[in-house]
C-alpha cells in the first residue's frame, strides 16, 4: 500500500514535470458540474444535406448574471434545451435553467450573447434561432434579467422576436447615444446555384439579410436601410466583429460572409450610417469566412483582425478536401459579377488605420487551422503579447473529394430528393472532421507559434462557439467551448501567479452600464498595449465584459489611458498590477481622436494631373497556367518597361513605357511645364513585342540617346521574332532600328557599363525563363559595344547562369574594373569579378542562399562605410516553405514522357516533401496520375517519392530555394551575410528598389515596392505591401505612413523625374496606371 502510494506520488511528480508547459487544463463536467452537450441527432428529415449549417453548433455566453463576483455560463443548444449555470466558486457550477426560465422555446437555437439590453446593470441574454425552414419554429429570444436568478422572455416587447435565419447578434452603441444597439447576423440557407451579381445584397430579404437594430429605449427599430446595411439573399453572415477600426471614436464592423459573398467592412460615418469599404482596405479576404475577432497584436494602438476559414494543415486532410477555385472562374466572379478576391484560408489583417491592411496570415503561421469556427485573441500566458485560440472540427466533412465523387456516382439510380436512403449512405461516406483545437503563442513580430500540442491537453473533438473570462478569479483568462455531441469543455488557465496581469471592469452611466466600447491604452517600458471592450467576439458567443492585460514579469506599468464611449479620456497612474480594477469615469476631459492619427511626416504627395503622364499599362490576358498548368507563378506579366532619358535631344528627360503584347510603346516628352505624349514612328511599329525592360543611353557616342528594349512575355516561343530584343539609334530625324545579335529569350534586365574601358557602353542582358519550358535555364549575355554595334561576348560564364531577374555593375573589390552581380529565381546572388574584361564567379555569400530574388541595389544600410546590397525576394507570406536545411524544391522533368516538361513544386513538412498542389491539379497535366490514384484518399498524405517512380524523380532536375525573405547582404570585408528584413517587408515580393535622398537630409534612402498577382487562387494574391522607405538597419517606414499608396498595385518600377527643378517619384505598375508623387522635402 505504502509502496503504491509512493509510486503514485512519483507518477504525479513525473506528470507535473512533463506537463509544466500545459497552459490550459481541461476539466471534466464531473468536477465542474457543467453537464451540457450540444447533441444533434441526424435524421432522415434533418441533416446537413437538408440544412447547410446543420453543424454550426450552439452558442456560449459568459457573464456574472447574479452580480456575485463570479462568472456564470449560458449555453445554447441546437436541438437540446439551453442551460444556465451559476458559478459557485472553485470551478463548481450549479444549473438553474428551469428556475431561471431560459431553456428556450425555439426548435433550433444558434448564437447566444449577453448584454445589458435594458440598461439596469444586469446582464440579459439574447438567444438567436433559425426559424421557418425544415419545420423550425420559434423566434429569437430575449431573456431580461430580473436580478433574482430569474429571467423574463421579452423579445416581443423589445421588438427583437425575429423569426429569421439568425446566426448571432452583437451589441454596440453605433450612434453614441449611450444605449446598446444590436447588429443581427442572419444567414442565407440556399447553396449557390449561380453566383448572381453583387447587387443582390442591395435587395433586402427579411429572412437572410442582416439587420442593424437601433435601441430606442425599450424597443428596437430596424434602421438597416437608412444606415446602409446590406440585407440580401446572398448574405451568409457567420460572424461580426465590432471595433473602432479607424480610431475615429465611432464603432465600425467587420462582417464575415460564407461562400461567394464578400465580407463587409462597415466604416461608421458618424452620422448614423455606415459605408462598406472592403475593397478599399482589403486586397482579398477569406472565402468561406467563419469566425472573426479583433485585437491589437503589434502594439500600435490599432485593432487587427482575424477571419477564419477551413484550410487544413494536415497533408492528408488537405489533399482530400476541395480547394480553391480555378483562376478563370475567379476572374469571372470578380470581373463579371463584381465580387472581391477571396481565398480559402484564415486571414490576419494588420491595421494601417487609413490605408489598406497588411494581410499576413501565412507569414504569421496561422493560415491553416482546418474547419475553424471561432478564434479569440487574448494574452493567455500573460507575457504581454496577444495569443490566439482557434476552435475547430466538424462531425462530417462535406468537402471531402472522395465523398463528393461518391455521391456523384453510385446514387445515380435514385433521385436524391425522393429517397432518404441516399442521404443515410451519403452521410456515412463523409469522413469525420474531429480535430484538436489550436492555440498559438503571440510574439512581437507578427508571427505566432503553434503551441497546441504543449499548451492544450484536450482530445480531438468538435468545438464551435467559445468564450473567455476569468472563471476562477485567479487573474488569467479561462475559456469555455460549446461542443457538438460532447460535453462542454472548460479550459482552466494555469498561468496563475507566473505573470502579471490587470483586469479592468467598467461602471459606466446607464444605460451602457458595462461601458461597451471603452478603449484602454496601457503604457509601460516604452511599450503600448491597446484593448477595446466588446463582448461579442469570435463566433456565436459573448465573453466576459472585462478587459484583461498580461504584462509578463513587469511589476508596474507607467499609466493607463481610458477613452470612454462618449469620447472623453481619463488617465490613471500608479496602478498596482495583479488585480481587478473597477473604473468609472472620473476627472475626464474631452479626447481628440485626431491625436491618434500617425505622426510620421508625409514625404510624398500624389500629383493630381500626373504631370501629364497619363499611362495605364494593360496586360494582355494571356494566362500562363492555361498552358503550363503546374508552374509556380506566371512569367508573362513582368512588364511594363520604363526608361527615363532624353529622347528628342532637347536636354530634358523623357519617359518611355513599353507596351504589352500587341500594345504599342508610349512616350511622354518633357516640355517646359509638363509631359506630353508623342509618337516616335519607328518605335510604335513594333507592337507585337512585349517590352519588359528598356534602357536609354548613348551607345554610338553621337551625343544622342539610343534605346535598347528587352522583350519577353513568355507567350512567344521557339524562334519567334517578338522574342528578339530590339535596338534603336537616334539620328537627327528620329530613330532607326539596328541589329542586335539573334538570341530568342525572355529578357528581364538590361544594364549598361563600359566594362572593358574602351570608351563606349556595353550592356548585360539578363534573361528569365524559356517559354513553354519553365524550369529550363536560359542564357544571358554581355553584349560588347564596338562603334555602336553589339556582339555577344563569348566564353563568359553567363550561359545557363540562372533565371535572371536583375543585375548591377559594381566594382565591389575596388580594383578599377566594374564587376557584375546577378540575382534571379531559384538561384543565389552571384558575384562575377571582372579582370580585364573577363569574368570569373566568386563565392562571397553563404552557399545556401537560393531565393526567388527579384531585385538588387547597393546601399550602405548599416552605415559602416562599405557597400551592402539590398535584395528583393518572394517574401515569406506564402504557402511555399524554404529553409537552408529544407529548401523549397522544384522537380523539373518530362514526368509523363509526352515530350513536354512539367514542374512540380514541393514543400517540406514533417520529414517529407509533398507536392504543393493536389491530385486534380497534377493530373490536369500528368494524366497518368488519375489512373494511379483512383481515390483522393490514396493520394493524400503521400510524399513525392510515393507519387512518382524513383527513376522518374532521379532523372528530374531539382531546383531549390533556401530563403524566401527579402533582406540585405551585409558587407563584412567583402564577405556577405544575409540578414532578412522585418516581417512587415515580407508580406509580398519586393520587385523594385530606388535609391535617392527622398527627405532632403542629404543622405540617401532606399524605397522598396512590390506586390504580385501572377499566382493561382490556391496561392492567393500578394497585394498588401504598402512599400517601405529604408533609412538604415533599424529605421524603416512603411509607405502608407509617408504618403504612398502602393497597396493592391503590382509595382514594377520606381523612377525619379525632375520637372522645373522639382523632384517627383514615378511609379509604374503591371496592368495599372502609372502614378506621380511630388517629393515634399
Amino acid at each position: 500500500m505504502t509502496n503504491n502510494k509512493y509510486i503514485i506520488l512519483c507518477l504525479a511528480v513525473l506528470f507535473i514535470s512533463c506537463d509544466n508547459d500545459l497552459l490550459f487544463k481541461t476539466t471534466s463536467s464531473k468536477v465542474t458540474g457543467l453537464a451540457f452537450s450540444n447533441t444533434i441527432s441526424e435524421s432522415d428529415e434533418l441533416n446537413i444535406l437538408d440544412y447547410l449549417y446543420y453543424y454550426n453548433g450552439g452558442g456560449v455566453a459568459l457573464g456574472d448574471i447574479n452580480n456575485d463576483g463570479m462568472l456564470d455560463i449560458f449555453l445554447s443548444g441546437n436541438q437540446v434545451k439551453n442551460k444556465l449555470f451559476i458559478n459557485k466558486g472553485n470551478l463548481n457550477f450549479e444549473e438553474i435553467t428551469q428556475k431561471a426560465g431560459v431553456e428556450g422555446n425555439s426548435s433550433w437555437n444558434t448564437g447566444a450573447v449577453m448584454g445589458d439590453v435594458n440598461g439596469d446593470g444586469l446582464l440579459d441574454i439574447y438567444v438567436c434561432a433559425v426559424v421557418g425552414i425544415n419545420g423550425f419554429y420559434g423566434h429569437n429570444e430575449l431573456y431580461i434579467n430580473n436580478g433574482d436568478e430569474t429571467f423574463t422572455e421579452s423579445a416581443q416587447k423589445y421588438k427583437l422576436d425575429f423569426g429569421s435565419y439568425s446566426s448571432s447578434a452583437a451589441f454596440l452603441d453605433y450612434d453614441l447615444d449611450g444605449d446598446l444597439d444590436i447588429y443581427l447576423l442572419n444567414h442565407a440557407i440556399h447553396t449557390q446555384e449561380s453566383f448572381g451579381k453583387v447587387d443582390l445584397r442591395n435587395k433586402r430579404n427579411d429572412q437572410t439579410g442582416d439587420k442593424l437594430l437601433r435601441n430606442d429605449g425599450g424597443t428596437f427599430s430596424d434602421v438597416s436601410e437608412t444606415a446602409g446595411i446590406f440585407g440580401g439573399i446572398n448574405g451568409y453572415g457567420l460572424a461580426v466583429t465590432v471595433s473602432d477600426f479607424n480610431q475615429d471614436g465611432y464603432p465600425d464592423m467587420y462582417v464575415g460572409n460564407d461562400f461567394h459573398e464578400d465580407d463587409y467592412y462597415y466604416i461608421n460615418n458618424g452620422d448614423g450610417t455606415f459605408t462598406n469599404q472592403l475593397k478599399k482596405y482589403f486586397g482579398h479576404t477569406s472565402r468561406f469566412s467563419m469566425g472573426n475577432d479583433a485585437a491589437d497584436i503589434n502594439h500600435d494602438g490599432l485593432p487587427d483582425i482575424i477571419s477564419l476559414d477551413m484550410l487544413a494543415e494536415d497533408e492528408d486532410v488537405l489533399k482530400r478536401s476541395q480547394g480553391d477555385e480555378n483562376i478563370q472562374i475567379q476572374k469571372m466572379k470578380i470581373e463579371k459579377y463584381g465580387y472581391h478576391y477571396q481565398y480559402s484560408r484564415n486571414m490576419l489583417y494588420i491595421n494601417q488605420q487609413n490605408s489598406g491592411y497588411l494581410e499576413t496570415a501565412l507569414l504569421s503561421g496561422i493560415a491553416a487551422t482546418d474547419w475553424s469556427w471561432s478564434g479569440l485573441f487574448a494574452d493567455y500566458n500573460q507575457d504581454g503579447e496577444q495569443d490566439l485560440f482557434i476552435s475547430n472540427g466538424i462531425p462530417k466533412r462535406p468537402n471531402d473529394l472522395d465523398y463528393i465523387n461518391f455521391v456523384s456516382s453510385d446514387q445515380i439510380q435514385k433521385k436524391i430528393n425522393n429517397t432518404k436512403l441516399v442521404d443515410q449512405k451519403a452521410l456515412q461516406m463523409m469522413p469525420s472532421g474531429k480535430a484538436q483545437n489550436y492555440i498559438f503563442k503571440g510574439s512581437k513580430n507578427l508571427t505566432f507559434e503553434d503551441k497546441s500540442s504543449t499548451w492544450l491537453d484536450d482530445e480531438k473533438g468538435i468545438s464551435g462557439a467559445i468564450a473567455i473570462g476569468d472563471l476562477d478569479n485567479d487573474g488569467d483568462m479561462d475559456l469555455v467551448a460549446n461542443n457538438i455531441n460532447e460535453e462542454v469543455s472548460v479550459y482552466v488557465n494555469q498561468t496563475d501567479e507566473n505573470a502579471s496581469y490587470l483586469q479592468l471592469e467598467f461602471k459606466y452611466p446607464k444605460p451602457n452600464t458595462f461601458g461597451i466600447g471603452t478603449k484602454v491604452y496601457a503604457y509601460y517600458q516604452g511599450t503600448l498595449q491597446y484593448k477595446e471592450l466588446y463582448t461579442v467576439r469570435g463566433f456565436q458567443a459573448s465573453s466576459e465584459p472585462m478587459v484583461h492585460f498580461g504584462f509578463g514579469d513587469i511589476s508596474k506599468i507607467d499609466s493607463l489611458k481610458i477613452i470612454w464611449p462618449n469620447k472623453t479620456e481619463q488617465v490613471i497612474n500608479d496602478i498596482a498590477l495583479n488585480q481587478r480594477l473597477v473604473v468609472s469615469p472620473e476627472d475626464t476631459k474631452p479626447f481628440k481622436y485626431t491625436s491618434l492619427v500617425s505622426k510620421t511626416r508625409a514625404l510624398f504627395k500624389k500629383v493630381d494631373d500626373n504631370l501629364g503622364i497619363n499611362f495605364t499599362h494593360e496586360e494582355d490576358n494571356y494566362i500562363d497556367f492555361n498552358r503550363q498548368k503546374l508552374i509556380p507563378y506566371q512569367v508573362s506579366d513582368r512588364g511594363p518597361a520604363t526608361a527615363i532619358g532624353d529622347l528628342n535631344n532637347d536636354g530634358k528627360k523623357d519617359v518611355y513605357f513599353g507596351g504589352s503584347k500587341f500594345e504599342s510603346s508610349r512616350i511622354f516628352m518633357q516640355t517646359d511645364s509638363m509631359f506630353v505624349e508623342r509618337e516616335i514612328k519607328a518605335l510604335a511599329k513594333d507592337n507585337r513585342n512585349e517590352d519588359v525592360v528598356a534602357l536609354i543611353a548613348d551607345f554610338d557616342n553621337d551625343a544622342k540617346n539610343d534605346l535598347i528594349i528587352g522583350t519577353g512575355g513568355a507567350d512567344f516561343y521557339n524562334k519567334s521574332t517578338p522574342l528578339l530584343d530590339t535596338y534603336y539609334t537616334q539620328i537627327d530625324t528620329g530613330f532607326i532600328k539596328q541589329e542586335l545579335p539573334k538570341y530568342f529569350e525572355n529578357a528581364s534586365v538590361i544594364k549598361e557599363n563600359d566594362y572593358d574601358s574602351d570608351g563606349d557602353l556595353d550592356v548585360f542582358i539578363g534573361n528569365n525563363v524559356v517559354s513553354n519550358d519553365f524550369g529550363k535555364i536560359p542564357n544571358s549575355y554581355i553584349l560588347k559595344n564596338e562603334s555602336g554595334k553589339f556582339s555577344i561576348l563569348r566564353n563568359q560564364p553567363f550561359q545557363n547562369i540562372g533565371m535572371i531577374t536583375d543585375a548591377i555593375w559594381e566594382d565591389y573589390d575596388a580594383d578599377g574594373f566594374t564587376d557584375l552581380i546577378l540575382v534571379g529565381e531559384w538561384m543565389s546572388p552571384k558575384f562575377f569579378k571582372n579582370t580585364n574584361g573577363s569574368f570569373i564567379e566568386e563565392k562571397l555569400t553563404d552557399s545556401k542562399l537560393n531565393g526567388l530574388w527579384q531585385q538588387i541595389i547597393p546601399f550602405d544600410i548599416d552605415k559602416d562605410g562599405d557597400t551592402d546590397y539590398l535584395l528583393g525576394n518572394w517574401g515569406t507570406n506564402t504557402k511555399f516553405k524554404a529553409s537552408k536545411d529544407y529548401p523549397l524544391k522544384m522537380y523539373y522533368a518530362d514526368f509523363d514522357g509526352n515530350g513536354s516538361t512539367e514542374t512540380i513544386v514541393c514543400n517540406y513538412k514533417n520529414g517529407d516533401y509533398y507536392p504543393v498542389l493536389g491530385l486534380n491539379e497534377l493530373a490536369s497535366q500528368i494524366v497518368s496520375l488519375k489512373k494511379k490514384f483512383t481515390t483522393y484518399k490514396s493520394f493524400a498524405g503521400k510524399p513525392i517519392e510515393d507519387i512518382f517512380e524513383k527513376s522518374v524523380l532521379q532523372n528530374a532536375i531539382v531546383l531549390e530555394v533556401h530563403t524566401l525573405a527579402s533582406g540585405y547582404l551585409k558587407n563584412e570585408n567583402n564577405i556577405f551575410e544575409f540578414i532578412p528584413f522585418k516581417n512587415e517587408l515580407q508580406v509580398s515580393p519586393i520587385s523594385t528598389f530606388l535609391k535617392y535622398d527622398f527627405n532632403g537630409d542629404e543622405n540617401q534612402e532606399v524605397l522598396a515596392a512590390g506586390n504580385y498577382f501572377g499566382i493561382i487562387p490556391f496561392h492567393g494574391r500578394f497585394d498588401s505591401f504598402p512599400g517601405a522607405l529604408i533609412y538604415n538597419e533599424t529605421h524603416i517606414d512603411l509607405g502608407n505612413t509617408i504618403g504612398l499608396d502602393f497597396s493592391q498595385k503590382a509595382i514594377k518600377d520606381l523612377n525619379i523625374i525632375t520637372l522645373k527643378g522639382a523632384s517627383y517619384l514615378l511609379t509604374t505598375s503591371n496592368n495599372n496606371s502609372a502614378q506621380v508623387y511630388k517629393l515634399i522635402k
Binding site: I329, V407, I412, I623, N626, N898, V927, K931
Partner: protein
Amino acid sequence: MVKKTCKSSLVLLMILFFVSSCKETSEPIIVTTKDFHTSVDKVMEVMVHDIFSPPVASRVFVYPNIAAYEIIAQKDTLYHSLKKQIKHLKEIPKADPQKLVNYPLAALIAHINLSKQLIFSEDKIEKHRDSLYSVWEAKNPREFKDSKEYGLAVSTFITSWMGADNYAQTRTMSKFRVNSENESRWQPTPPSYMDGLEPHWDKMRPFVLDSAAQFKPIPPPEFSMDKSSIFYKELKEVYDISNRISQKGDQSEEIAIAQFWDCNPYVTVTRGHLMFAVKKITPGAHWIGITKIASKKSGADFNKTIFAYTKTSIAIADAFISCWDEKYRSNLVRPETLIKTYFDDEWKPILQTPPFPEYTSGHSVASGAASTVLTSIFGNNFYFDDDTELTFGLPIRSFASFEAAADEATISRMYGGIHFRSSVEIGLDQGKKIGKLVTENLIMAHE
C-alpha cells in the same frame, strides 16, 4: 480469293480435328452475343463512374470495338477488315495457326483489355474480367490461353495505333481561354462554372473524315441583340419554349423528352453545404445503348453485333471530332448566359448547360451520325423501345425509326434550354453527312 479461303478453312479444320482428338476432356468455350453486350455495359458503367466528357467517351467506345471487329473479321468472311480504310490502321497480327484460337473469345478479351486501359477505375473492369477468365479457364485451359494470348496481342497492336491519335498530346495542351470581354463568346455557366471541355479535340486523328473540318457547318447566325435579328429570335425562342414548358409542369411531354436525352455525364447538384454531381451516360453512350437494343431485337449474331457496335462507334467518334472542331471555332455563347443577362437573372434551363461552347449541338451531330449508320445496318422504320435510361430512373420511350429517335434527341436540346434552333438543325445535318460518309466509304459487311 476463293482459293485462299478454302486453304485457311482447311487448316482450321485440321486444327479442329487435332484439338478434338487430343483434348477430348475439355469442352469448347462458347462466347455469346450476350457476353459481348455485358462487357459493353460494364464499360459504360465504369465510364459513368469515372466521368468522361462526351468526346473522350466516344474514344473509349471506339477502339475496343475496332479491336474486336478486326479479330472477328480475320475469321468471318462476311466482314472486311478496316485496315487501310480508317486512318493509319494496318493489318492486325495473325494468330499462330498452331494455336487453338477461339476468335469470338479473343475478340471479347481484346475488347475488355482495351476498355480497361481506356478507363480510370481499372479494378472495376478487372473484377468483371477475372470472373470471366476463371470460368473460361476451367472450361478449356488451352483454348482460353491461346485465345487470350491472341486477344491481348491484338489489343497491344491496337494500343500502339491508338497511341498516335494525338490524345496524349491534347491532354497537356493549353486550357481554353475564356474571352469575357466579348459577350457573343462562350462563358462558363452555372452552377459549377467549369472550364471549357476538350478545346483541342479537333486535333484528334479522325477515323473516316479526311479532317476535322471536312463537314464544317455554315457559321451560326450572327450575334446580335437587335430584336429583328435571327440570333435574337432564336434566343427568345429558347426562353419562350422554356417558359411554355415550365407552365405545363414537370409532367409535360417536352420535359420528358429533354430529360430522356439529357445524357450529360456530369450534372452538378447543390445540396446543403456541398456541391456534387449526378453522373449519367454521354450522348454517344446512349446511341451505343440503342445499338445494343437493335442488335438484340434483330437477333444479330455475335459478329454482326460487333460489326454494328464498331460502325456506329466510328461514326460517333468522328461526329465528336467534327462537332468539337466547330464548337471552338465559333465559340458561341450559351442561351443561359444571355437569358440571365437580358431576360431574367433567375432563369435556369431545364437541363444543366454542359461546359463547352454552344454551336453545333453535340447531341445532334452524334445522333445524326449514329442514326444514319444504324439505319444502314438495321433498315428504315426499325421500331424499337429505348430503355437505355431506365437505370437512371427515366421511362422507356418508343421510336418508329432511328431517324425519329435522332429527331427527338435533337429537339430535346431546345426543350432543355441549352441550344438554339440553328445549332440543333445544322448539327443534325452535319451528323447525317458524317453518317453517310461512314456508311458509304467503309466497306465492312458483305450484304
